[in-house]
């Protein structure tokens, strides 16, 4: 990387996303100029590509796909495309992207500019859902600052897709941009890049772009200095649930789950953690020491997902909360695929029955069968997430399952939910 570190930059040679200045001037003082070499400056491009590869950065939106490979695929699709900043954050339990775009929009937008230069894109589109007007205002202000100061070599725009869970799915976002319909598209060939019309589209989560901006400025070194050797860097995690101080924290990859959860100070003894999001996996106490990284999480059947940890305290009913999530996920299906449209509501009904203590052995068996049948049979991963959530709930809360299945639900299944939903969910 051919750039010189200013004295101010030396203070910021530790990779972190949070705590940087919000305004453009402060941002430039902290990190130096954008220095995007447009056009075919081969050595600059090579340098940035190898930094990204060295960093082993993976997507922070749930897909966890290596950023450098995704970039290569997009590059091979040709120029004239779009870099899409996915700030939809449809996951109700997640706040990190909103936080980033409100506090440090310039990091995210710079990341998009670097990618645009590398894949010869002609525009950058920031997707903020309808209903998040304060975020939109912050991004708007940042974009105006940038264009006034000639800090946006590639044109930056903002669009407002519907604020629904599935609308943030990559292919649904690209689809919405060309047809006004937030419906996921079947992608049999994962390697083929997304397209908007005939032009390629590179869609990235806002946090991933912020990491890219820092790696581009300071090289892969600071990023690799944090986290694990096999999986370097940091992640933003939103902690919610039965905690005293819910919020977003930045953690090194590989931090044990429990060490992340206690930063929000659980309000009572913890019976389980939900990792990844509402389409993620419940983890029981025996696995609380698992490092927060792809491979360790995969061995216990989980994934980092959207950077979410929900803490479930002792006085909450795991089955009831899972039933609420199942109902939410069922309500948020795209209405396209039979197994999902029919299967998820049926699964939600089954979970609600269990939560209320009305389910019996046959109902549990039927629920298990439906879970196996629905898994993997949609055009996108939405039903898979619901299946993962419910399956892990049945495993982790097996003790409760026994009692509920005998008509003796926990006394607190009716308790006001500790989970966040964009609209009321009734059991």
């Amino acid at each position: 990387m051919t750039h010189s570190a200013s004295p101010a930059q030396a203070l910021h040679n530790v990779h972190r996303l949070l705590g940087h200045p919000s305004d453009l001037k402060g941002h430039l003082d902290a990190h130096g100029p954008l220095n995007v070499a447009l056009g075919r400056n081969g050595s600059w491009q090579q340098g940035l590509m190898s930094s990204l590869e060295d960093s082993r950065l993976t997507g922070r939106g749930g897909g966890a796909f290596p950023a450098s490979i995704k970039l290569e695929l997009a590059q091979s699709a040709g120029g004239g495309g779009t870099v899409v900043v996915n700030a939809m954050e449809g996951e109700p339990a997640s706040d990190k992207d909103t936080l980033l775009l409100t506090r440090t929009p310039h990091l995210v937008l710079d990341g998009a500019q670097y990618l645009a230069a590398l894949c010869r894109a002609v525009r950058i589109v920031v997707c903020i859902p309808i209903g998040r007007d304060s975020v939109a205002a912050a991004v708007n202000q940042a974009m105006r600052e940038r264009s006034r100061n000639n800090h946006a070599p590639v044109r930056e725009e903002m669009v407002r897709p519907p604020g629904r869970f599935i609308a943030g799915e990559e292919s649904a976002l690209a689809n919405w941009m060309q047809s006004a319909r937030s419906l996921p598209v079947l992608r049999p060939d994962k390697g083929a890049p997304l397209r908007i019309g005939r032009r390629p589209a590179l869609v990235h989560n806002a946090e991933t772009l912020a990491h890219i901006a820092l790696i581009a400025r300071h090289g892969a070194g600071p990023f690799r200095a944090r986290g694990m050797t096999e999986e370097p860097g940091t992640s933003l995690v939103t902690i919610s649930g039965d905690v005293t101080y819910p919020g977003v924290v930045e953690v090194d990859r590989g931090t044990p789950l429990w060490d992340i959860a206690i930063r929000s100070q659980p309000a009572e003894p913890v019976q389980a953690l939900l990792v990844g999001g509402y389409g993620g996996t419940w983890i029981g106490p025996e696995h609380f020491g698992t490092p927060y990284a792809s491979i360790p999480l995969r061995t216990i059947g989980a994934a980092a997902g959207a950077g979410v940890i929900v803490v479930l305290g002792e006085t909450s009913c795991g089955l009831a909360e899972s039933a609420r999530i199942a109902r939410y996920l069922a309500d948020e299906n795209a209405g396209q695929c039979g197994p999902c449209v029919n299967g998820l509501p049926a699964i939600a009904d089954g979970m609600a029955q269990l939560a209320r203590g009305e389910g019996r052995y046959d109902d549990i068996t039927r629920l298990q069968r439906r879970l196996s049948e629905v898994n993997g049979r949609g055009a996108c991963r939405h039903p898979d997430g619901a299946v993962s959530l419910v399956r892990s709930a049945l495993a982790v809360f097996a003790g409760d399952l026994d009692a509920h299945g005998r008509g003796q639900p926990c006394p607190h299944w009716r308790k006001l939910t500790s989970l966040r939903f964009p609209y009321p969910i009734r059991l």
Partner: protein, 206 residues
Amino acid sequence: MNSTYLWYATRASGIVALVLLTLTMVLGLVTTSRPRARNWPGFAQQELHRRISILAVVFLAVHVVTSILDTYVHIGWFAIAVPFASPYSRFWVGLGAIALDLMVAVFVSSLLRSHLKPGTWRAIHWLAYASWPIALIHTFGLGTDSREHWVIALGAICVLSVGLSLAWRIRATAKQRATVPAVTSHVVPLNRHATTARTRAGRYDA
């Protein structure tokens, strides 16, 4: 060829073609996606619909060719395809020409189905809904046999069959739409058509 035999052939093949077309319509109408009756051989019915339509087109061809070859009245090749160009019974033959044009379109589009966009094929296929009543009116309008009791009875049966099939289809489609699980109301629809934004208040008050 003897004009009388040709004339009989025209009338007979016309009526047979009408009956076969009616049967084709019925077989095509009495289907839905997500069938309730598990034991019904839907694929066999679709295949039957296809084959009977081919048979209908064969009889239609005989009907058209014999009507031209018959020199007793002059119709001419041109009037077969172009409506209202026949000097003989201009209006009723013209209707027949329209019905023929529509049916040819349906037939050819089905042959080329794999090369057409699904929406295009579907739109053209719906022309069948227009061609059948026009064929029926052409039959009774031309009047050669239309005062015979058995022909009137046949016509009534055709109309009744298609009418009942259409009613069945409309009702079955509506019932089926009602079985798709609804979701609680949302303010923001996923798409312009807002299928997932329908409000079914209370449905999930479990």
